[in-house]
Amino acid sequence: MTISTGPLSGSRPRVGLFVTCLVDLIRPSVGFAAVKLLQDAGCTVEVPLQTCCGQPAYNSGDRATAQALARKIIGTFEVFDYVVAPSGSCAGMMAKHFPELFKDDPDYAAKADRFAAKTYELISFLTDVLAVTSVDTSFLRKVTYHDSCSGLRELGIEAQPRQLLKSVRGLDLVEMEEATVCCGFGGTFAVKYEEISSVIADKKAMNIEASGAPVLLAGDLGCLMNMAGKLARRGSRVEVRHIAEVLADITDTPPIGRGQKP
């Protein structure tokens, strides 16, 4: 099932939004923010029925499940010009690891490669493909930005979010120490090795607090939930949001871990 949005037009890139499990389940506002950013940048956005990119299976050694899910996604998104996810981790899985999953499958490898080549993380898609250089919005707060590992190291996302954040009127970006160090989430790592994950998250929370910024942004909801959960447990009042919410000016919903309804 595919739902069309926006007028169909040859010149408008047709984007399939890969919404990601966590955004789907925990924080739909990130999905709507992504839709708005993509539409504002001139894309036609559709959201085909979908589940998961398969990363939990892939990183747990269950390649058969990972391949089955990958095939499903590649088929579902075949019709789109681009596949965009508001997550460096899921986008990295699809753009970097799907080809790896099928590299020994002569019938499917080329298909996986084509899919990977049109798959992007949201913010870098806006800047690198759509040449967006600024957003027309304001956010009168001091914020700090955490570089999530997959986006940073698999997809090279580092300058792009900062570029767009600096275009937000009134936003004051302050860098924390060790912004590029892991927050301790790591998907199933966070529950399989809870104790270690928690210690890493504590160090990250201290760096966030020491930055003096009352708002923390990042591009991956998994990391954000981990950091928000740790900050809340430490009694910190730092507000945690997905970067897309600020760029799309969808900040009327409470920050992560602060109440259910606006």
Binding site: P28, F32, L152
Partner: protein, 482 residues
């Protein structure tokens, strides 16, 4: 193998490590020291990344022709008057060392730092034959006094505080004046230097490792900062080099390429203080140097790694950058990994050398942050290799059954999008009930591992897909513009 691995108890080891205040205070130095120093060293060398490619290519080339380079190396060592011994296992290598020591009636053996010797468990073997091994690298010496194994491949005592070292010296150095002030690292160093100097001059045999073996010349190279390796190999009448098969490089030029990335990656120095190239025993007009020069080349499972995907791991030059930069290593230190090699390189190498069933936790205990691969001077894809071990662990059912069951349950729904949408909507509804009126969930029965140490944010309510479907029900409905 002589060291009993505790890698199978990784989680328990890690739990103790996290509660060990001394360890945690020692580990706090890792990011400020190694990590910061490496960053400044590579900032001063624009060619660093190109040199990493070069180092990787040299290692790959050597491994692909390893048999021929080993032959060439062996010929050159013999031509220089040295001896080359091959050992399939640790036991064979230990037996060769013992034989040489006995042939020279050795009582005291000084040792430069050698990870191979840790792998062999050589010290216990020597001691069992009334030969006293004296570790001379300061860190190794300290942990030898404590009957511990190294917690880091280039900084063996990285897990200890100054006060712990002082306690060890007071206990072990029986002639030490009780009143002597040993509060400062300087005085501790002076004390160790005095004790070890006596041993250097008394030793009958000196054993070192090797950072490289050079096929072109039959040369072995050691890299140190203290100079202990040089005193170990220069003063006694016998020098034994312990090296594993993958230490080969073709030429001096090749070694120069890799040396340029080694120290920078390890300690952030441009070069370590002492890089020593040794070729054969003392010559006719030499006033010093060993009369006998032996090289023991150990396989211990490495040759079979050449066949598969773990061949990449044989490029490793043991710089320690992966562990220095690893958030997991920084949290738990090296001993938690339970065998000789800790951190990301250990998580890949240990299962290959002692078996995955003994060490399945190691490649799993990573958040896959990718920092290790980013800093590796020979570009080993460490996360990819850890994932390959996870594949094998899954195939062999080495994962706890609860985890496997949870994964299977999740996979079923993930494969069926319509069921998934229904089930997730229901689950989110229930979570919403749990969390009604709250910001965070701090005790969820099915998310205990998460909520033990951090809150779980209450979902906004409703899944994105359900809301999207609702908002877009009917023909030509635009996405909500908020």
């Amino acid at each position: 193998m002589s060291i009993t691995p505790t890698s199978a108890q990784f989680k328990t080891n890690a739990h103790h490590a996290l509660g060990d205040a001394d360890l945690q205070s020692a580990l706090a130095h890792v990011p400020t020291g190694f990590v910061a120093n490496r960053a400044s060293a590579i900032a001063n060398l624009p060619e660093f990344d190109a040199l990493r490619d070069s180092a990787r290519d040299i290692k790959n080339h050597t491994l692909a022709h390893l048999d021929l380079y080993l032959e060439a190396y062996e010929e050159k060592v013999k031509a220089a008057g040295g001896h080359v011994h091959f050992a399939r296992t640790s036991d064979e290598a230990n037996a060769i060392v013992l034989e040489i020591c006995k042939a020279h009636d050795a009582h005291i053996v000084t040792k430069g730092k050698s990870m191979i010797s840790e792998e062999m468990g050589l010290n216990d073997v020597l001691a069992a034959h009334a030969i006293t091994p004296v570790e001379t690298d300061l860190g190794e010496y300290i942990i030898q006094l404590r009957h511990e194994t190294p917690s880091h491949i280039i900084a063996p005592a990285a897990h200890l505080t100054k006060a712990q070292v002082e306690g060890d010296f007071r206990r072990a150095h029986v002639d030490l004046d009780r009143a002597r002030n040993l509060e400062e690292p300087e005085t501790l160093l002076a004390e160790a230097r005095t004790i070890l100097r006596q041993n250097f001059l008394k030793a009958d045999v000196g054993i070192t490792g090797a950072n490289f073996l050079i096929a072109e010349t039959g040369t072995s190279i050691i890299v140190t900062n203290e100079g202990n390796g040089d005193l170990t190999q220069t003063l006694p009448k016998v020098h034994i080099v312990l090296a594993s098969i993958e230490k080969l490089v073709p030429t001096l030029e090749d070694a120069a390429q890799i040396l340029r990335v080694l120290a920078r990656s390890a300690t952030g120095q441009d070069m370590s203080v002492y890089t020593t190239l040794s070729t054969g025993p003392r010559r006719a007009d030499d006033p010093d140097g060993p009369e006998h020069y032996h090289v023991i080349i150990l396989d211990n499972g490495r040759s079979s790694m050449l066949a598969g995907p773990f061949k990449d791991m044989l490029r490793c030059i043991r710089c320690g950058a992966c562990m220095n930069h690893c958030p997991v290593y920084q949290a738990v230190g090296g001993h938690a990994y339970g065998w000789v090699y800790p951190g990301p390189m250990g998580a890949v190498l240990t299962p290959a050398l002692i078996g995955l069933d003994q060490s399945a936790d190691l490649p799993n205990a990573s958040s896959f942050c990718g920092k290790c691969e980013e800093v590796c001077p020979v570009r080993i894809p460490l996360p990819k290799l850890m994932r390959l071990w996870r594949d094998r662990a899954f195939e062999r059912h080495l994962m706890p059954w609860t985890q496997r069951a949870a994964l299977g349950f999740w996979a079923f729904f993930a494969r069926h999008p319509r069921l998934y949408r229904g089930a997730t909507s229901m689950a989110i509804g229930m979570l919403g009930l749990f969390g009604r009126g709250k910001d965070n969930l701090n005790a969820l029965p099915f998310l205990k591992a998460w909520t033990k140490s951090r809150d779980f944010p209450v979902p906004q309510g409703g899944t994105f897909q359900a809301q999207w479907a609702k908002r877009n029900a009917g023909p030509q409905i635009k996405a909500p513009k908020s």
